[in-house]
Symmetry: C2
Subunit: 275 residues, 2 copies
DNA sequence: CAGAGCGGTTCCATTATTCGGAACTCGGTT
DNA sequence: AACCGAGTTCCGAATAATGGAACCGCTCTG
């Protein structure tokens, strides 16, 4: 599995939450449990926390009785709780494209025989909201629920390319331009140039920019008026295919994107005027 | 004070139980947003909330700045935020079988050509932690992140059948025995009888007990010592196949369950002695 | 076996936060 | 102009959070 570089890279979304107020502090604790990526003991938590022992203890207690954390009495460890999973499922269902898109993604994946991703823009980063594996799955970073950078993924660039000028400026200012691979785009200028090319041709490539060996073709999902709802991509590896070969899927991707857009607009994302 | 009664089963799933501290109240609000299942206006929330306007307003404000809710300024609505999705992803990765099982599920699904579910027991109910759709997906209730009843699903019964006596008694006491279909098992006696049969044959059927037309074969995922880690199932519909036909997949399911178990035990679920 | 050390838990006076009724703002409607 | 209802802000009173210190039940050690 790809668990190696957990916090290796830059923080994508962060937003550096204040942590003011009791609720904010509690959520900060929750985040800290999450970043451990494994069940964690009280003492370990205390070591990374800015709160004194008694205070942290009460937080952990509260979160546990509220079901946001679970306490394993045998091993004396805390882990993220099931209430979180339920809430997140609701979040995923109500405020993501995934429910309307699922069927279309399945069809697209079956048709092209490769892995398909559905992503949405979350501030400055890409949130993968769904993924359908190819018949022969490849090991790769993305997973439903994960966030990734916008400037060096196919879905990210596809969405950026169709953002209104003002929003784009903001979002570009928040990109880290960290060099993940030798092919990563690492300057604002190079990115803007590429975004223009993407607008011209109507789709984006990922040329091993985020992960070595992983390539994709991506297209945005747009409303009639051109507002960006999300993006989808067909992903494969250099060991299996080439960008030129992937490009033949563009019409299929376009049809899928259009179908998702139409369904989404009538269903839950009415086409308001962009600001 | 003894800390035993602290965990004494507040029935989760319905609010109004906790809500003690500030954090609890905030989470209660979050739950209420979730149960709407769609973006919701302040007024709607106020109507169902036990808090006065000003108080609710501050909660919603706080949750929004903390990223647990997002506010759509255009339509003046609140929806569950992306921070939840990120947290839940972490929860899913750290405390579910899904990460180790994913690849095995993909392989199993490809091999048998049907939908495959991975589930875990969460108190008295079944939490679907992963799902791989068949080539031709069927419309059905289950989804990764959803919870379902234990007494009338294949995965639920498979897990119950291998629970230690004491735990089983507790869990059975919490089943609702609601009749979902004409085939639903609706009595404790019938359920216990069936669990015995399941232990004898080593796998469980779902005979359209939860959803009409949906059938499955399920097996538990057990450690060496027989502790229940989860369950997996191969699911299809009566319009496509029969239980007899599904039964041929039992050896494949067994092999998959074993593979997942072996990997999980070494990785994150060490085989402690059951209480 | 006394005693130090350590992870975890509880106590409680102090203090900072939250509470919420009421007053206000801002569109739209009569 | 007056009214209305949804949403927002204010501020004294009420309440909940805070965290230093003490405590518990271990294990390790001299």
């Amino acid at each position: 599995m790809d668990n190696a570089p957990r916090n290796a890279g830059p923080k994508y979304g962060s937003a550096a939450t204040s942590g003011a107020g009791t609720v904010g502090k509690a959520l900060e604790v929750l985040d800290q449990v999450a970043t451990f990526g494994r069940p964690v003991r009280f003492g370990e938590l205390l070591a990374v926390s800015r709160f004194p022992k008694a205070t942290l203890y009460r937080f952990v207690q509260t979160l546990a009785t509220e079901g946001m954390l679970t306490f394993d009495a045998d091993r004396q460890t805390y882990a993220l709780g099931v209430r979180l999973v339920r809430l997140a499922h609701a979040a995923w269902e109500t405020s993501s494209l995934a429910p309307v898109a699922r069927q279309h993604l399945d069809e697209l994946s079956a048709r092209v025989g490769e892995t398909v991703h559905l992503a949405q823009l979350d501030h400055a980063s890409v949130l993968y909201v769904d993924k359908v594996n190819a018949r022969e799955p490849l090991p790769m970073y993305s997973q439903a629920g994960k966030v990734g950078p916008a400037y060096c993924t196919g879905v990210g660039k596809a969405m950026l390319a169709y953002l209104p000028q003002r929003e784009l400026d903001v979002v570009i200012g928040q990109q880290s331009f960290h060099r993940f691979t030798p092919h990563t785009v690492t300057s604002e200028f190079a990115l803007r140039t590429e975004l223009e090319a993407i607008r011209d041709q109507g789709f984006a490539f990922d040329r091993e920019e985020h992960e070595p060996g992983i390539i994709c073709v991506a297209m945005p999902i747009l409303t009639e008026r051109g507002r960006v709802l999300g993006a989808l991509s067909v992903t494969s590896s250099t060991s299996r295919t080439t960008l030129q070969a992937l490009e033949v899927h563009v019409p299929a991707i376009r049809a899928t994107a259009r179908a998702i857009s139409e369904e989404a607009v009538q269903w839950r994302f009415p086409d308001t005027v962009p600001i």
